[in-house]
Assembly symmetry: C2
Homo-oligomer: 310 residues x 2
């Protein structure tokens, strides 16, 4: 199962982190912006997308041997229209060619008949009857929003079974206003706990040999108390943990997302890695042309920061 | 404001319905499937997308003068990859050229920094600094999932203000398992009611001259009791009502989504219109080549069915 492959890669590299290729144009160093006409004012969506691809490739070249996976935020590519989504796919291909597991961060959701189409687009194959037309945006894991309940999630789980894929369902997100709905108090718990119970149930059939399910949960690093509750209540649910670094999640808090063997979670950082060449810690050591090496240095620092608490 | 334009078009046409271009390949009549090689087995994503576009254009040609708007379900196009999303945009353009208001049904959601990119992709412009690169997937209204709370919705509202657009935020969805999270009982209400209060608040600043806000809500036609509660508690929130027709929502129940002047909501039907040429009611009157005329006949029947209860 894909979750076992992810866990084995984490063990092999001794690195439970994932780098988020949430590549925004203002993350790019000047020399790439200039090369693609984004400073001179002759910018197009095509050029902007190619600039993002060049940046991504350099990041991947510098981190593929030290991290097990990347998380690619599709919004950054959707904003660049069709050229952007072409670069999304070319980035996915580039990552998979380097042996990285790819998490598509798309937070898709809809009623069942429509969720099936999203599931096929990202986790399965596009078919007409028995005829396979191809794969639209193929990733290994996909993030999914649970607000519609089981029949909006079930088609994704079907594709996990059929195509050996995984999902991470939003339980408690890392943003400030996640409390507005997710922390609403029901009769004896919070909404995110009810959602967590559902995710735990939904994942039962897809538990791999390492004890975790291909149906995982997104649990923000910014809410340690909630993470502690969730870790205890979802023993076979693997966590994707956003919010480390730029969003303010601390390594000692993030440790609460892991089980007592130091497994069961993978921590994402995006901006703090992609823009590390501008950070106080690294900007005197690396030029902006060396943003890839800076990303590698920061990725190793993040790995060490997180693993020392496990 | 766009909500006033929508309401005025509804008044003008005396038709508070919207046709969902949730075009699935198995909705297409044989002659289109054959033309594009989808029966002979030489099918590609490109051909499939072109087949969908041909179908959509015929539907639009037959309904643009009797309905105010269309709702385009992006999952159907995402499943066909880049050719599919190209056809999404070409369908949007075709609809707008015919004067239709376009609702993009994408249910996008993420934390604020990422929600901003989705908002720009669908409702605004893609920019790098002050440089405008273009518009990715431009629609007039977009559906949005509220699970992340205000900071995941606020960027969409910003784009509504800046670009004269609107959103419909999921409150109570039409599917069977929507109860699992949306109907959870909090101390004195259900989750969907708490969400409704938030949507009502979020829309305050964008109320148009007809008394309704550009921040609307999705309220499924399949739950009349919930619709009644929500209509009373959200006096300036316009409803997008899915679930009529194939999903089982009845016109007499749907009337609960409207205010006592028969305004405040627009009702969607997709499959029952697109596939009307196969329905018992129409299949002896229209051939499959006349699917466009059948869609028009069913759209008029739907209009009359719904308006007689208002």
């Amino acid at each position: 199962m894909i979750i076992d492959r992810l866990m084995e890669k984490i063990d092999e590299l001794k690195n439970p982190t994932v780098i988020g290729l949430d590549t925004r144009l203002d993350y790019l160093p000047d020399y790439i912006l200039e090369k693609w006409g984004l400073i001179s004012g002759k910018a197009t969506m095509d050029n902007a997308a190619e600039a993002v691809l060049e940046f991504n490739k350099t990041i991947v070249d510098n981190i593929y041997d030290i991290v097990p996976a990347v998380k690619i935020q599709i919004a950054c590519y959707e904003m660049l229209g069709l050229p952007g989504l072409s670069v999304f796919n070319r980035t996915v291909d580039y990552c998979r060619d380097k042996g990285l597991i790819v998490i598509g961060d798309a937070k898709r959701n809809d009623i069942g008949s429509t969720a099936r189409e999203y599931a096929r687009a990202f986790l399965g194959e596009t078919q007409f009857g028995d005829l396979v037309l191809g794969r639209a945006f193929p990733v290994d894991f996909l993030t999914v929003n649970p607000y519609l309940g089981y029949d909006g999630v079930q088609p994704f789980i079907e594709c996990c079974k059929k195509y050996n894929k995984g999902i991470f369902v939003l339980a408690k997100t890392s943003n400030a206003s996640s409390c507005q709905i997710q922390d609403l108090k029901t009769q004896d718990e919070r909404v995110f706990q009810a959602v967590a119970r559902l995710i735990h149930e939904w994942g039962r059939e897809l538990v791999g040999k390492n004890g975790y399910s291909c149906v995982g949960a997104v649990v923000g690093a910014t809410y340690p108390e909630q993470a502690r509750i969730l870790r205890a209540s979802m023993p076979h649910t693997f966590f994707l943990v956003p919010g480390y670094g730029a969003q303010g999640g601390k390594a000692e808090d993030i440790a609460l997302c892991f089980d007592n063997q130091g497994r069961g979670a993978i921590v994402n950082a995006s901006r703090s890695i992609l823009c590390s060449y501008r950070a106080d810690r690294w900007k005197d050591k690396f030029t902006s042309e060396e943003f890839g090496q800076a990303a590698r240095a920061e990725a190793l620092r993040m790995r060490d920061d997180i693993t020392r608490y496990l």
